[in-house]
């Protein structure tokens, strides 16, 4: 019964969305207040209905209702509660429902908090958002219904793919979707602005917090996914340039560009059509990602079970949504003239360069991801583009970006003084050179390239600190005064400081962990020791340990720092190999001990029948935790910036017209 309620609610939501996407739009066009007034309540009703549908599916998973096909395919009574719940979105149908939920959630947020928004703009934003929802809900109901029943109901289900039964991955999809589905709002804002033919500072001020929120979630989601790959796949890597990873990375690059160009649009009344273009592209790439992952056009490790019908549907959705937006853009774009002029060397210039590099980087990732498909369609054979392509194309673009990122905040709006800015970065430059050379000389096996990467990270980090010091006039006014200034810094600038510093830390982590990883693979018997990265690992034993729905082969390593004496400093690592009962699948659970300088990483493999020992893999991954710390700081930056009053939804207090109120006629 509850399942049918969910199904019915979803059908109702589709109708509400269709109405919400049309009537208020007509109303806004004809200035018909009554029709316009439908938008906000409709958005809330649509949200409520999708929540009911989502709750119904969750209920079916939690109670292990095996009369529902989706539950049969993805759940099992043995599964711990957390994974019963995460099983809801651990499959194609359920994850599309989550997609729709988040889409409606953002629409509902605009309806609820958009009180100060210009009424016609608000109605159009909600209208566009709802048109997207109409497409997605129709897609779910027509091709991917999660509520399909199965008769007779089996006694138990197939359980969830064990690789997905992991706390990190349980929260990865919701965060990721909050990110890239969140870009739908900026897209709706862009399309609404194109329909109105008006992009002003107020518009940009509205777009920024939403972009920022989506960007923060996306950053968190991608990092969590990367972290999962790092500890779950058991070989210490954290990024694979897999099509599915690229699918979330491309919107991130576009959103990062959008975040910066929206600042120029707001503060300088410039780069308007470019900002609009980026807003369309960012969501377009999100939809493209959805298409790639679910249509089967591209082979990937983590693609969903593919189905060409779904592919055709999403492709249509993509073409209609993004094609429509681009057509509007072609029509209205040229009239969006900005008034702010600027010199190439200026804050705007720096941000524009950042935008250029990010966009080209996104385009090159797109090309690499789609290239195999192009070649295939042209009957030129099958190729695979591996990491070498992405690394050789992507990294050279990030180098100038990191360099400029350090300098741009020192430049003034309109016309900056490049020499003056670099002069203020003297100290940073000196520290960078010394740091780079030190890295190169201290670490044996340090390649010039890796040392350069570390130098870049240092350069950015010190420049961020220098910029903060400049703002609080450190050492130029008494310390107390500097302290006061520090406290008075607007949260938005703290946001930038955090995000940029986080990236610097992340770059250091990426460089070090790629360049200086130490690994050792061997067969070990009990009592055998091996030294990796300055730590000695002794295999104590390997035992079978039962888990809730798996049996684990658990190794015990005693690890001591080489040279340290006594058992006091010893730490114990317990890597596992889990065999899941229902799916007969094994997963590797690496044991990781993070330290400031690097992660101790141990994996236990199969028994070697010949010698009676176990295959073990031990890594020392330098500075890996810096990547996650950096990502966390970036997300924190987004959060701090969002809490800035200037960003708080409804910032311009001028317009006091209450939307939805219908004046007497």
């Amino acid at each position: 019964m509850i399942v049918e309620t969910g199904h019915f609610a979803l059908i109702l939501a589709l109708f509400v969305a269709a109405l919400q996407g049309t009537l208020p739009m007509i109303g806004a066009h004809r200035r018909d207040q009554a029709l316009m007034a439908i938008a906000a309540p409709a958005a809330l009703i649509q949200l409520a209905l999708v929540i009911v549908a989502f709750a119904a599916l969750t209920y079916a998973f939690v109670t292990s209702d095996f009369s529902v096909l989706n539950v049969v395919q993805n759940s099992h009574t043995d599964k711990p509660m957390l994974y019963k719940i995460s099983g809801v979105w651990g499959n194609h149908e359920g994850s599309m429902l989550l997609w729709a939920l988040i889409l409606s959630l953002y629409g509902g947020a605009i309806a609820a908090f958009g009180k100060n928004l210009r009424p016609s703009l608000k109605v159009r934003v909600l209208g566009v958002q709802s048109l997207i929802a109409t497409g997605i809900l129709a897609f779910i109901l027509l091709t991917s219904n999660p509520f399909t029943r199965v008769v007779p109901a089996p006694i138990n289900g197939n359980s969830l793919n064990p690789l997905l039964q992991d706390p990190g991955l349980a929260f990865h999809p919701p965060l990721l979707y909050l990110g890239y589905v969140g870009l739908s709002i900026t897209f709706s804002f862009a399309v609404a602005a194109l329909i109105e033919g008006r992009v002003d500072a107020a518009w940009a001020r509205w777009v920024r917090p939403w972009t920022l929120a989506a960007w923060g979630f996306l950053t968190a989601g991608i990092s969590l996914g990367s972290w999962w790959a790092y500890y779950e796949l058991g070989w210490g890597g954290w990024w694979f340039w897999d099509p599915v990873e690229n699918a979330s990375f491309m919107p991130w690059l576009a959103a990062t560009a959008l975040l910066h160009s929206a600042i120029v649009s707001e503060k300088r009344d410039s780069l308007k059509s470019w900002t609009i273009f980026l807003a369309i592209i960012a969501f377009g790439l999100s939809l493209l990602g959805t298409f790639l992952v679910r249509s089967g056009v591209i082979t990937s490790v983590h693609a969903f079970a593919s189905d060409p019908t779904r592919g055709v549907f999403i492709l249509l959705l993509l073409v209609v949504t993004i094609g429509g937006a681009f057509a509007l853009f072609a029509w209205r774009g040229p009239s969006l003239k900005g008034s702010g002029l600027f010199q190439p060397i200026s804050r705007e210039g720096g941000l524009l360069l950042n935008n250029f590099l990010l966009t080209v980087a996104a385009a090159s990732v797109l090309l690499g991801t789609l290239y195999p498909l192009f070649i295939d369609v042209l009957e030129l054979g099958k190729v695979s583009v591996g990491a070498p392509y992405f690394e050789s194309v992507f990294i050279p673009m990030m180098i100038p970006m990191l360099m400029v990122m350090a300098i741009a905040p020192f430049l003034k709006w309109k016309r900056g003084d490049f020499l003056g800015a670099t002069a203020r970065l003297k100290i940073a430059l000196i520290i960078t050179i010394v740091g780079g050379l030190l890295t190169w000389s201290i670490i044996d096996r340090a390649s010039a390239f890796a040392a350069f990467g570390m130098a870049l990270a240092i350069w950015l980090f010190i420049a961020v600190l220098t910029e903060l010091a400049e703002r609080i006039k450190l050492f130029r006014v008494p310390l107390i005064e500097s302290g006061r200034r520090l406290l008075r810094q607007p949260r938005a600038s703290w946001g930038m400081t955090f995000a940029h510093a986080g990236l610097a830390i992340m770059v250091a982590g990426m460089t070090a962990s790629s360049a200086w990883r130490v690994e050792s693979i061997q067969v070990m018997k009990f009592g055998d020791s091996v030294t990796v990265g300055g730590y000695t690992y002794t295999l104590k034993d390997v035992r079978e340990v039962p888990g809730p729905n798996y049996i684990a082969t658990r190794g015990t390593f005693i690890v001591t720092q080489s040279g340290a004496s006594g058992e006091d400093d010893a730490l114990t690592l317990y890597p596992e190999k889990r065999t899941y009962k229902t799916r007969k699948m094994t997963t590797t659970e690496a044991a990781i001990h993070p330290t400031f300088l690097g992660d101790l990483y141990a994996v236990v493999g199969d028994k070697d029948e010949k010698s009676g020992g176990y295959v073990t893999r031990i890594y020392f991954n330098p500075l890996v935790s810096w990547m996650w710390t950096g990502a966390l700081i970036m997300v924190l930056g987004a959060g701090i910036s969002l809490s800035d009053r200037r960003h708080r939804v409804g910032a311009p207090a001028k317009s006091k017209i209450v939307p939805g109120s219908v004046p007497a006629e």
Binding site: L233, W235, G237, F240, S273, F277, I280, I281, G284, F291, S295, G296, V297, T299, V301, P308, G311, V312, L315, L318, V319, I322, G323, F326, A327, F329, A330, W331, G333, P334, L370, P372, L373, F374, D376, V377, K382, V383, S384, G386, A387, P388, E519, I521, K584, M585, T586, G605, D606, D608, E609, K610, V615, R617
Partner: protein, 178 residues
């Protein structure tokens, strides 16, 4: 900016959409297996640096073997590698390697030196000669070649204990019987 420039995104999207539409109908799996049940085309690959013998089609005769396409740049090969080592150590089936598209001549040998070589013979394949002979689409890929030198099965992606036991081992047993 030129008015026309504003149409570029729309045009590009159109081109992209055509490709996608064309790509949708294709089943990647069947297309790739055109060489199945055909004799391995003649090829001869140079040895990798440090080795004396390369790999040629003549080496793949008289016994059932695996031919594995790998590269030091290929992350999934790294995942697969321990299992190939196991195949070698337990003497289950000989594995021949094609070291595909290395950026330089040292990269492959260095990788093998670091992790160990599971291969009986290795051919260096910077120009995709061997890869084309097998109709390779990406790395890692592994082929069963039977006693007559005929390609009998193609496995895409890393070999794991699970897919070995479920699919590949039975094929090996079957081919050995023939």
């Amino acid at each position: 900016m030129n008015r026309f420039a504003y149409y570029t995104p729309l045009v590009l999207l159109g081109v992209l959409a055509v490709y996608f539409a064309a790509g949708l109908g294709r089943d990647s799996q069947t297309l790739q297996s055109v060489l199945i049940n055909q004799k391995v085309p003649e090829f001869s690959l140079q040895p990798i640096e440090g080795a004396t013998k390369g790999l040629s089609s003549a080496d793949l005769k008289n016994q059932v073997v695996l031919v594995n396409i790998f590269g030091s740049w290929c992350d999934s090969c790294r995942i697969e590698h321990p299992f190939l080592m196991e195949l070698k150590e337990k003497n289950i089936v000989p594995v021949y390697g094609i070291d595909w598209r290395e950026v330089n001549r040292q990269a492959g040998p260095r990788w093998l030196k670091k992790f160990g070589s599971p291969y009986t013979l290795i051919g260096d394949d910077p120009k995709s000669r061997g890869a084309i002979a097998f109709g390779v689409t990406g790395a890692p890929e592994t082929f069963f070649v039977d006693k007559q030198g005929v390609i009998r099965y193609k496995h895409m992606g890393p070999i794991t204990e699970q897919n070995w036991n479920d699919t590949l081992k039975p094929i090996l047993d079957e081919l050995r019987k023939q």
